[in-house]
């Protein structure tokens, strides 16, 4: 099939009454989850997974993609109106978004944010559509050496880059890996760390682990601060006399270069594992600030310029398309949200990886179509339905979080139709809370848990093929490059304090 007919098939899979209904719901709920600080895209997908159990795989993925797109964009509402980023992806949106509100240009800030979120998503989805089949074609020839190296590379990137403390990042990854070794060994079929408990034989369920760590852990953490006074009430922005999306065509054209640059940054960062939207918006903002030519006439970025909102919102939404590339082509998630999507795909018997493009092409192109249509829905719903979302922002957390816990329980119960996964969920909730207290990052834990088995199986299969020698792992050029980068990243991160010390000493000498 040609790519044109595949795309057409994708749209026809999604553009059914059910599909459209699911996207409308998904985008709306996603925006709410994105807008509420403390709730995230990951949590939205976790909570809606049980809803998809009985759905056809195409419908399930349509709903989840709509949630993802809504949630990444929704964070801009609280970033601009409250100066609290809804998700880490919207931190840089606050810098200029809130000053614009102070200037009485709330509608313009929101309009720019929404429109460029849309453009970022569409840009990255179109690139994803053309890029991923090509990568899948190359990846289809990958064997155990390549998969082992890519898994190790991803784990290293995540462990070293996702937190300020490299040791704690790697520790989190190793502990996640350790939890993945519980259960029946897939190569030798022997029991590992099951201690005679029957429900441990299948290992810990990925979804129970993630829901526990993120949702339950978050609720226990919220209990700590729930007694603190927080009377922040979001005020409705005035939309009177606003034409279109609140900005002029000239302003729009003036931002196109900034948007394109930010979209490339977002897409590139999304493809790399472990960095994600939290970094891409900051990086795009910094680049926009450093290359700003109008600082003299309009004031520097950070004083209420739409350039800042454009850079941040285009980049974070472009990260979505980027993050989907390794997920779909290699089965490797780069962050917690794509990890959750990996769980969803597996649950619906779709194994992400190069073969997905051959065996399940309509579903893959359905995902692409859902991303495009959802972003159109997001564009109109988020701007014109703003008043409703702002009202929802005022629902108190002490009511919201217990309700979310009940939904988590339903989801976990339905994994095996018994209480075993609910108990696992609470256990991982405690671990999540402890991680927070000891300032250990949770993302490397999740990725260690997911990528661990991939690394282990390919390592052991590779060694069995080579008769115990590791040399062939280094002879495959692709494997060598990934392992080389992994070593380089570790050395770079480990010597960072040393380099900083030297730099400080040099500065002091000057």
């Amino acid at each position: 099939m040609s790519i044109g007919s595949l795309i057409a098939a994708g749209f026809s899979t999604v553009l059914t009454p059910t599909g459209i209904f699911l996207m409308l719901i998904g985008v709306a709920v996603g925006i709410v989850f994105g807008a509420l600080p403390g709730l995230s895209a990951t949590m939205a997908i976790a909570l809606f997974l049980p809803v998809t159990y009985a759905m056809a795989s195409a419908n399930a993925m349509t709903l989840l993609m709509a949630l993802f797109i809504g949630a990444i964009s929704g964070g801009l509402i609280s970033a601009i109106l409250l100066r609290i980023p809804g998700t880490p992806s919207n931190v840089a949106t606050c810098f200029d978004g809130h000053p614009l509100v102070a200037k009485g240009q709330a509608a313009k800030a929101l309009g720019v944010g929404v429109v460029f979120s849309f453009l970022g998503t569409v840009f990255s989805t179109i690139l994803l559509m053309f890029l991923s089949p090509q990568i899948a074609k190359v990846a289809i020839n990958f064997g155990p050496y390549e998969f082992f190296s890519i898994a190790i590379f991803s784990l290293t990137m995540i462990a070293t880059l996702s937190s300020g403390n490299m040791i704690k990042g790697i520790i989190a990854g190793v502990i996640g890996f350790m939890f993945s070794t519980v259960g029946t060994d897939s190569i030798e079929s022997t029991q590992r760390f099951t201690f005679g408990i029957t429900s441990l034989k299948g290992g810990f369920d990925m979804l129970a682990v993630m829901v526990g760590l993120f949702a339950v852990g978050e609720i226990i953490s919220a209990a700590e601060t729930s007694h603190h006074k927080n009377d922040e009430v979001v005020t409705q922005p005035s939309m009177k006399g606003i034409k279109g999306f609140g900005f002029t065509v000239k302003e729009f054209v003036g931002q196109l270069w900034n948007a394109l640059r930010s979209a490339f940054i977002g897409m590139g960062i999304g493809i790399l594992p472990g960095i994600g939207g939290g970094t891409s918006n900051m990086l795009a903002y910094t680049v926009a600030k450093n290359s700003d030519k109008h600082a003299d006439e309009l004031g520097p970025l950070g004083t209420g310029r739409i350039d800042g909102v454009v850079a941040s919102e285009t980049a974070n939404n472009a990260t979505i398309g980027g993050a989907m590339v390794p997920l779909l082509t290699l089965g490797i998630p780069g962050d917690t949200t794509t990890a959750m999507l990996l769980g969803a795909l597996t649950l619906h018997n779709l194994t992400p990886g190069p073969l997905l493009f051959e065996n399940q092409a309509p579903v893959v192109y359905g995902i692409f179509a859902a991303m495009l249509i959802s972003s159109v829905i997001m564009l109109f719903m988020e701007f014109f339905g703003l008043r409703m979302f702002v009202k929802l922002l005022n629902i108190p957390k002490y009511i919201l979080l217990p309700c979310i816990f009940v939904l988590c329980t339903i989801g976990a119960y339905n994994l095996k139709n018994n209480m075993s996964q609910v108990i696992a969920c609470i256990l991982f909730g405690i671990i999540g809370f402890a991680f927070k207290k000891f300032e250990v990052p949770t993302t490397p834990f999740i990725l260690g848990f997911i990528l661990g088995p991939l690394a282990e199986q390919n390592y052991r299969r590779g060694l069995m093929r080579t008769g115990g020698s590791f040399i062939p792992f280094l002879r495959s050029p692709i494997s060598l490059v990934f392992l080389g980068i992994a070593v380089f990243v570790i050395v770079l991160a480990a010597t960072k304090p040393l380099r900083q010390k030297r730099k400080a000493a040099k500065a002091a000498a000057k």
Binding site: V174, H227, C403
Partner: protein
């Protein structure tokens, strides 16, 4: 040094490092006890290999964390330490207790009864004192439970723990 108070934040890395070191030792001991099938897989690729490596790696990393902990412990950075207040601690413990109680009563009393009780209790625990509105919380608990039951059990035909009310309703 003598004037420094021992606070959680100060010895956090040290405590974590020691705990993880102990954990890695226990993990390695159990890893060495995993049954292998020498006829099927050679020693270098059996089920013990990776767990042992992971255990050793964790031991090394925890040692590094202990070292880091001791260094930062000696270095008084002078930052104010925010202590967890008694109210916060009580609320965390109560939240945790409510969750545990919920999963204990769920299989016995079924989804509807347990969820109404849990939601009411948990919302009351989390709500700031001046905002406690018990009748409202009770209404929220009942309505949310009914909606969730209708959506998941009836709408999506998913299984939920059964109890007396579910039996009465015929679900």
């Amino acid at each position: 040094m003598s004037t420094q108070k021992l606070t959680f934040k100060k010895c956090r890395d040290l405590i974590l490092g020691i705990f993880l070191l102990a954990l890695s030792v226990v993990y390695i001991i159990f890893a060495r006890q995993i049954q292998t099938r020498p006829k099927m897989t050679p020693t270098y690729a059996n089920a013990q290999v990776l767990p042992t490596l992971l255990g050793i790696l964790l031991a090394i990393l925890s040692a590094a964390l202990i070292y880091q902990g001791i260094r930062s412990f000696k270095k008084d950075d002078g930052t104010a330490v925010k202590k967890m207040s008694k109210v916060d601690l009580v609320s965390v413990v109560l939240t945790f207790a409510a969750m545990c109680l919920y999963i204990v009563i769920l299989p016995k009393f079924g989804f509807i009864l347990s969820t109404v009780v849990f939601l009411f209790a948990q919302i009351t625990i989390l709500a700031p004192k001046e905002k406690r509105n018990l009748p409202l919380f009770a209404i929220v608990a009942v309505i949310f439970t009914i909606i969730a039951f209708i959506a998941f059990r009836i709408g999506l035909s998913q299984m939920l723990p059964r109890g007396p009310i579910e039996a009465l309703l015929g679900y």
